[in-house]
């Protein structure tokens, strides 16, 4: 007899992979359309009505392309990286409660699981940069490591502040701890925590203005300079999947998860998540890129001390 818990996880994983893949397609379309409208142009328009099939065409193109390995690259590391990049993201979604009963793995340490696997992402970027034996790739990887390690600290502190408030690391419990109405959500009780989390999420997912590991105008394409076809495609999908994870976690921790006025349910969750993703996309097409020392200064000089102060503030609130 197969363990029902295992079966549940397997089904959930398949579902999650489908969800992530579909979302990646939808988000690529959304990103290009939003970018288009920000830049006073229609965006993709040719493939299907309003270019709605464009991401599909892109995906087919990427799959059809030849996979090239640079001559001096280490093929094992080189090809391990994109695969390793994508896998932890799928696992990160397991403990996220999308709805009252829509949770794949109701873990007491759900938040820890997400943080642990999210930390793996930087390893794959490091491997990609090192394995492709390209100087630009190496610089990109070095940037990614420094950036992600630095920003993980304020991120953890921001998450910790929510854990203090709820007294739990179980994402379902955290959701239930917040009420129906927006003023009962953590974002208003702990606004600084939310801002710190959001900035760190931008940096952790390598999105502009913190897209230094792949800064196009400086490092050509950074860590994925040498990847072609689906090698690049996996990194690309992982970026969007990372955005989904980061925004889902933000929704659970700060925006009340699936709680919402009138009819709580998964639709509220998705609405909040997509709103955050929309904000991230909007930011990318609006701001210039920061420089590397500015990025680290922001983290060590501002975010870490502020996050620590925020912890003190949250403990006082909890005491009261």
């Amino acid at each position: 007899m197969i363990d029902p818990q295992l079966l549940r996880i397997l089904i959930a994983l398949v579902g999650i992979l489908g969800f992530v893949a579909l979302n990646a397609l939808a988000l690529v379309y959304a990103e290009r359309k939003i970018a288009g409208h920000v830049q006073r142009r229609p965006g993709p328009y040719e493939v299907g009505p309003h270019g709605i099939l464009q991401p599909l065409a892109d995906a087919l193109k990427l799959m059809g392309k030849q996979l090239t390995t640079p001559r001096d690259a280490d093929p094992v590391i080189f090809w391990l990286a994109p695969i390793l990049c994508f896998m932890p993201v799928a696992l990160c979604i397991l403990p996220i409660p999308f709805g009252p009963n829509l949770i794949a793995l109701d873990l007491n340490l759900g938040m820890v699981l997400i943080l642990a696997f999210a930390g793996l992402g930087v390893l794959s970027i490091c491997l990609a940069g090192w394995g492709s034996n390209n100087k630009w790739g190496l610089l990109g990887a070095a940037r990614a490591v420094a950036q992600n390690v630095a920003y993980e600290i304020p991120l953890l502190l921001a998450v910790l502040s929510v854990a203090f408030m709820t007294g739990s690391l179980n994402l379902a419990t955290i959701t239930e701890g917040q009420g129906t109405w927006p003023w009962q959500w953590n974002v208003l009780l702990n606004p600084l925590g939310f801002i710190i989390y959001f900035i760190c999420a931008l940096a952790e997912t390598n999105r502009a203005p913190f897209d230094l590991p792949e800064a196009e105008s400086e490092l050509t394409a950074g860590f994925h300079t040498e990847y072609s076809g689906m090698g690049f495609g996996l990194f690309f999908m992982a970026e969007y999947a990372n955005m989904i994870v980061a925004c889902s976690v933000a929704t659970v921790l700060f925006l009340g998860g699936w709680n919402g006025p009138f009819a709580p349910g998964w639709w509220w969750f998705l609405l909040k998540m997509y709103a955050l993703i929309f904000l991230i996309i909007q930011i990318r097409w609006t701001y210039p890129r920061v420089r590397f020392d500015q990025l680290l200064n922001l983290c060590w000089r501002w975010l870490v001390p502020l996050a620590l102060l925020n912890l003190v503030y949250v403990t006082i609130i909890v005491k009261l």
């Binding site: 970018a35 920000v38 830049q39 006073r40 142009r41 100087k135 630009w136 610089l139 070095a142 940037r143 502009a208 203005p209 897209d211 800064a215 196009e216 105008s217 400086e218 490092l219 050509t220 990318r284 097409w285 609006t286 701001y287 210039p288 890129r289 920061v290 420089r291 590397f292 020392d293 500015q294």
Partner: protein, 384 residues
């Protein structure tokens, strides 16, 4: 021809790099295919981490020997070459050559043609600065402004297309005049464009120039002290960004510029932001010039009476104009024949680029990109 030993002895451009890298440094080839070298500029960098220890521009990837080409062409045929030296401010190059020929042959253009030249040349300067603005911000990682700039540029190019017949590689100046006249409808369009562009510049300032992330990327980056700018022969906004009010339109006046009221913007900041602000102010000044020119322009012929094959007397002449990137000079030597005996073109980007090696020492890679962008280089002009 030099032997390899002689080149090594004399100090060839890659000499530093032939010695190999030091311990713990990386030699990096930026270009000739790199998104922010804007064409085929190649810069060899030796970096320690992300800090640049040495930088050497390597030129010649788009050398088309325009100067040599002139010797095999008639004077009139060579005008089309000039539009291709610097494709962003092609009309200034047109003017440098045509002006040199006119100076040598003493065949000045008609007054109306002078004003038409000023109008088209300044419109072209605006389109060049707009493109620089968009591309520079693209270098700094802001994707959107370039499309806004191109939106404005599109309207401008439509006007220029009707004024000159082309959109990019202009060749509309003739000896003693210009090829096409401006009618009232065009004058109306230009006036409307000026009003619109002023609005847009205001928006660009509040939307982009005042953005604190942008300021962080351009403030105190790439300081060019005044003496250094002069030492390298920098001209144009690069020199004016270091506080020297040198503008060929004022320093060596030509055409009708003395009758037009405009200031030469300078900045004492000497950094990338200084050069940025100078260019933004120049956009406004160019709009002022055009606004006055379309009012002052006299009626009359647009082409002076010239023989079909102009006879250029033997002799030599130098004529310089102010391009978007600096002083554009044309040295012309004639032996009295049908084609130039020798032409030497002074490209401002060449002098401005030579600053880069010294400027980028000790900066971060990201700052080097910012510095390179702030010099506003057009690579075909450097290699000619």
């Amino acid at each position: 021809m030099f032997t390899r030993e002689q080149i090594a002895e004399r100090g060839f451009y890659t000499q530093h790099f032939e010695q190999g890298k030091q311990d713990n440094t990386l030699i990096l080839n930026m270009g000739p295919q790199h998104p922010s070298t804007h064409g085929v500029l190649r810069v060899m960098l030796e970096i320690d981490g992300e800090y640049i220890l040495r930088a050497e521009p390597v030129l010649g990837y788009i050398h088309r020997m325009h100067e040599k080409m002139a010797e095999g062409k008639t004077y009139a045929q060579f005008i089309t070459n000039m539009g291709r030296v610097d494709y962003l401010h092609a009309l200034a190059w047109n003017w440098a050559f045509v002006g040199a020929v006119e100076k040598l042959g003493d065949t000045p253009p008609t007054p109306r043609a002078e004003y038409l030249r000023v109008i088209t040349c300044e419109l072209n300067r605006i389109s060049s600065h707009l493109l620089w603005w968009g591309a520079y911000l693209l270098d700094l990682g802001a994707f959107t402004p370039i499309l806004y700039a191109f939106g404005d540029r599109e309207e401008l190019l439509d006007i220029l297309q009707d004024l000159t017949g082309s959109r990019l590689t202009y060749a509309s100046f003739t000896f003693g005049g210009v090829v096409a006249d401006m009618n009232d409808a065009l004058r109306e369009r230009i006036t409307r464009f000026i009003a619109r562009m002023r609005d847009r510049l205001h928006m660009y300032k509040s939307l982009v120039t005042d953005n604190f992330i942008l300021l962080g990327r351009v403030e105190d980056i790439g300081h060019i002290p005044m003496d250094m700018a002069v030492r390298y022969g920098a001209t144009g906004p690069v020199l004016r960004g270091s506080g020297v009010a040198y503008d060929v339109r004022r320093a060596e006046p030509y055409s009708v510029y003395p009758q037009l009221d405009f200031i030469v913007p300078t900045s004492d900041r000497t950094d990338a932001l200084g050069r940025y602000l100078v260019r933004m102010q120049e956009l406004e000044q160019s709009l002022n010039i055009i606004e006055q020119a379309v009012v002052q322009i006299p009626e009359g012929e647009i082409q002076a009476k010239m023989p079909k094959k102009p006879k250029i007397p033997a002799g030599e002449v130098y004529f310089a104009v102010e391009g978007a990137r600096g002083k554009i000079g044309c040295y012309l030597q004639s032996d009295g024949g049908g084609s130039p005996y020798r032409i030497k073109l002074r490209a401002p980007s060449f002098s401005n680029l030579s600053l880069f090696a010294e400027l980028s020492q000790g900066t971060l890679l990201a700052d080097a990109v910012s510095i390179l962008g702030s010099l506003d280089l057009v690579i075909p002009e450097i290699d000619r």
